[in-house]
Chain length 196, copies 2
DNA sequence: ACCTGAACACCGTTCAAGT
DNA sequence: ACCTGAACACCGTTCAAGT
């Protein structure tokens, strides 16, 4: 009933700009604040009301990306046992990375990383990683090495994603290499068989 | 004897521009072709003679980076046994990544990656990785999983480097986490103890 | 409160012209 | 062969002014 359309530049310019920015990223275009404003139908100075500068818009984009990534990871990190949850997490991560290559690169860009983006990235991984180990019997996972393995897990998956997104690795190879990488991570989590 | 100085804009402008670009990267500055030309003492149109456009200069920078990274990796991937060589490789990789954070990000940037850059990245890793397994006795390494493990190894190290360079991980944590990651990779390379 | 229009100081790229 | 100077079409950012 309420007119959701034509509410442009009257309340939701911020959301519109972010959407247009994501469209441009997905299309492989460079981000220009002036071009974004043009596509939103406002003057080039209008975005200033919602984003202090271009970097602020990029930060908002990155935070949004981490929020969605975290949600997809949490959803995927489910299943009856540890193995299934870790593999679900891994597949969800590389899927997001391949489907949003440019956004992921922006999310992990080293320069000018705001405190908000850093916090968003921690939230995105902390939740699903804790789900993976939740409810595990004591004998299945070595607790001491957990944070260490979590870091290595994220690093490995992010590295694979980076290699696919820049042509060092074929996307098709992920079907084989992701389970292999997960198997290697699991080996580190299990108590050593040599009980001595 | 021969005058190496004051040979500017008479033969080595290309090398001078690349050097200035690396200086700017190391200083955390944004790269501007016009600013680079200014610092080299030439007009803003002069770089055109040596680089078709800005991307060509970035590609040359990335190729150079991979060449140096490959040399350092080859030098570090030495030692009496497989373990030592893999750990040397890993430490050399993260050292390069931390010391040349902006350059590494440029080297792995997904956008506009030229065939030359892709070839340089393959050269940088192929050599040292083959050194790691060279001279191994058949029983120590599972040959079939070698390329797979090499990919996972590079991915893991690159992921750790990316996490350090964007603040998700403290650089000091690498001293502990790199050997841990290497140990996990090694487990995957060894033949399974359950000989059945 | 939210947006516009002009202005400022930069870009990358092109091209005739110089030496 | 290598470089210059002017020109073109863009940027991001700022700020007085409008409604």
């Amino acid at each position: 009933m309420s007119s959701t359309a034509r509410t442009y530049h009257h309340g939701n310019l911020r959301a519109t700009l972010l959407q247009r920015a994501e469209d441009a990223l997905a299309a492989g275009e460079d981000l220009s604040l002036r071009e974004l404003a043009r596509r939103a139908g406002v003057s080039h100075a209008a975005p200033r009301r919602h984003f202090a500068d271009k970097q602020a818009l990029l930060d908002a984009l990155a935070e949004d990306g981490f929020s969605r990534l975290g949600a997809q990871l949490s959803q995927a990190a489910t299943g009856p046992d540890f193995s299934t949850r870790l593999l679900g997490f891994a597949r969800a991560y590389v899927t997001f990375a391949v489907e949003h290559a440019a956004l992921l690169e922006l999310m992990f860009a080293g320069k000018h990383r705001s405190a908000g983006v850093r916090a968003a990235s921690e939230r995105a991984f902390a939740g699903p990683l804790s789900m993976i180990v939740a409810g595990q019997e004591a004998g299945e996972v070595v607790p001491g090495t957990l944070e260490e393995v979590a870091t290595v897990a994220v690093a490995t998956l992010h590295g694979l994603a980076a290699m696919v997104n820049n042509g060092m690795l074929e996307a098709a190879a992920l079907d084989e290499i992701v389970p292999a990488a997960v198997e290697r991570l699991e080996l580190g989590l299990r108590p050593r068989p040599s009980g001595a």
